[in-house]
């Protein structure tokens, strides 16, 4: 995608020789040591969450009631919870859920927001007015309350969403109604809802970009060789607006993860026996004075991840913002 995106710009900058937006941005980003460190930490955390639950000798849901809650030790690096489950395993497994929510919901919001804003910006006039008015109305609805409402009441059997879920699971499994898929449904639902409500700002940003780009000569050129409207929007306009899109996407991930953690903390998101960082923090908060490590480790991991995403997003913004170019 990056090479495709760079094409129109690098042609533009060809006369200047070799200083395309992307190589400039990469150079600036590399100079921002905190952003680079954040990126490395994120890669490490992601790998840890992917690999550790597979190789760990403790399963995230394996209870050991005889053991009960223990302090961090050599056997259990982060200690164990009330049921004697290894906290490290639960934290890395919960990290999978939290990171997956962040990434998948962001992909959904990316897809909706970018197409919505791109189409509204390109066609302008009535279509633009109508589409953006819709966004304005959604903005005034307290969306977090809608998310709470949806996850509390629609993430259960008997709704169209559950039927759709059963249908999809039915493709992979002969017994889609097996209760073991139930927690999965809840999480999938949270993915979809969070993605479905967090695309509004993206749509506005993309629309603004597209409006400022659409009267440029390269759009005219594309039209003159017979490119269709949708080709112009998705092949020519949007790749050129990629800078702000990337920045905002990076900043959407921590936002969505925060909401998932918030929901789980209120008991509306991820459910036992699955874990997510928010849900682990909520569990830890209940036995704060007795077993403080239960809140400390998941809280630390959550905060660290959000911090890294925010710092990386900030670094990308500084690197890709054309206003500060060549200063």
């Amino acid at each position: 995608m990056a090479t495709e995106a760079a094409a129109p710009l690098s042609q533009d900058a060809a006369a200047e020789k070799g200083s395309s937006l992307w190589s400039d941005a990469w150079r600036r980003l590399k100079k921002n040591r905190v952003a680079v460190a954040s990126g490395i930490v994120l890669i490490f955390l992601t790998l840890l969450c992917i690999i550790h639950p597979e190789v760990s000798s403790y399963a995230y849901d394996k209870a050991d009631l005889k053991l009960g809650p223990t302090r961090p030790s050599w056997e259990h690096w982060m200690g164990t919870d009330e049921f004697g489950r290894d906290l490290f395993a639960r934290v890395t497994f919960g990290g999978r859920v939290s990171l997956a929510v962040g990434v998948i919901a962001t992909v959904i919001s990316f897809a909706i927001g970018v197409s919505w804003g791109g189409i509204a910006g390109y066609f302008g006039k009535r279509i633009d007015a109508l589409m953006m008015r819709f966004v304005d109305v959604l903005y005034t609805i307290p969306l977090l309350i809608v998310v709470i409402l949806l996850t509390a009441f629609y993430a259960k059997p008997g709704t169209v969403f559950h039927d759709a879920f059963l249908w999809v699971v039915g493709i992979f499994s002969d017994h889609p109604k097996d209760p073991k898929y139930q927690p999965l449904f809840k999480i999938t639902f949270v993915f979809a809802v969070l993605g479905g409500v967090s695309w509004l700002t993206m749509a506005r940003i993309v629309r603004g970009q597209v409006i400022s780009l659409r009267s440029q000569p390269f759009v005219e050129a594309a039209r003159s060789i017979g490119a269709r409207d949708m080709t112009i929007v998705f092949r020519h306009l949007l790749p050129n607006a990629l800078g702000p899109i990337i920045v905002y996407t990076t900043l959407t991930i921590p936002e969505v993860m925060m909401v998932e953690a918030f929901l789980s903390f209120l008991g509306l998101g991820t459910e036992e026996p699955l874990s997510s960082w928010g849900q682990l923090v909520a569990g830890g908060a209940e036995s704060l004075d007795l077993y403080p490590w239960l809140i400390f480790f998941p809280g630390f991991m959550l905060a660290l991840t959000l911090f890294c995403f925010n710092f990386l997003g900030d670094g990308l913004r500084d690197a890709l913002d054309p206003k500060v170019r060549k200063d």
Binding site: T140, P142, F153, L266, G267, A285, L288, P292, G299, A303
Partner: protein, 306 residues
Amino acid sequence: MSTYALRRFLTLIPTLFVVMTILFFLFRLAPGNAFDNEKALPPEVLKNVEKQFGFDKPLYEQYFVWLGRIFTEGSFGYSFKYPGRTVEEIIATTFPVSLELGLWAMVTALAIGVPLGIIGAVRQNTWKDSLAMAAALVGISIPRFVVAPLLVLLFSLKLYLLPVARWESWRHMVMPVFCAALPMAAYIARLARAGMLEVIRSDFVRTARAKGLSERKVITRHALKGAMLPVVSFLGPGFAGLLVGSLVIEKIFDIPGMGRYLVEAVQNRDDNLFLGVVVVYAVLLTASNAIVDIAYKFLDPRVELD
């Protein structure tokens, strides 16, 4: 000016109407109801209860009854979970607490965020700037519900300095207000810095400097007002974030505010209570956005009054 203000407030009516309609139907069309929990009621009792709350009528009729009761009597009906108490009674006792928490948190957030942002801008690219902005990013990244328990652990359970929970004296308010304010303070710091950076490069500030004013006077007398514009426009959504964020704060510190009832109403499927609380939230959010819009035009004469 006042016509703009009036017009801005009039646009609230259709917005609120749309929001209320969406929320009502989203809530009522959800499967299940308040009375299908573990302890099943005998059918005759269930029938009576449903009749009492109007569940036996078609949904659109219930909708008009609900709307009509709000507009004519200002009433949201009886709570399901707390028999004999009306929703507006519950709101009347809990809303002031939430408002108090929210306003104190907003004041705190401004008191922390604005100076931090100005220091960052005035000392741009120095260690003070980096430190202030790193602190702001930490504030944004640590969820309220992680900070709050850790503060409780430190200040209440280890140092015995502050009470663990409840809402009585100022000592009860310190931690909840701080936790609620933290992310907002961080956003304000970043916005104040960006706004200030933009303003101190503008011509009128250069003029102020050129006529020999001290740096302090240039910043406080000339630059500050313009630099606050992004902060002001954030206060609307920021206040919204505070209100919703205080859901967890109220839960953690056992504060008898409205947010706790919202979560409880969701868990108990207390339709009337939930819808009542949500309508109050929606009014607050849309109204605070409108106030901010108006204040913005008032502060910045360059913004056209359309």
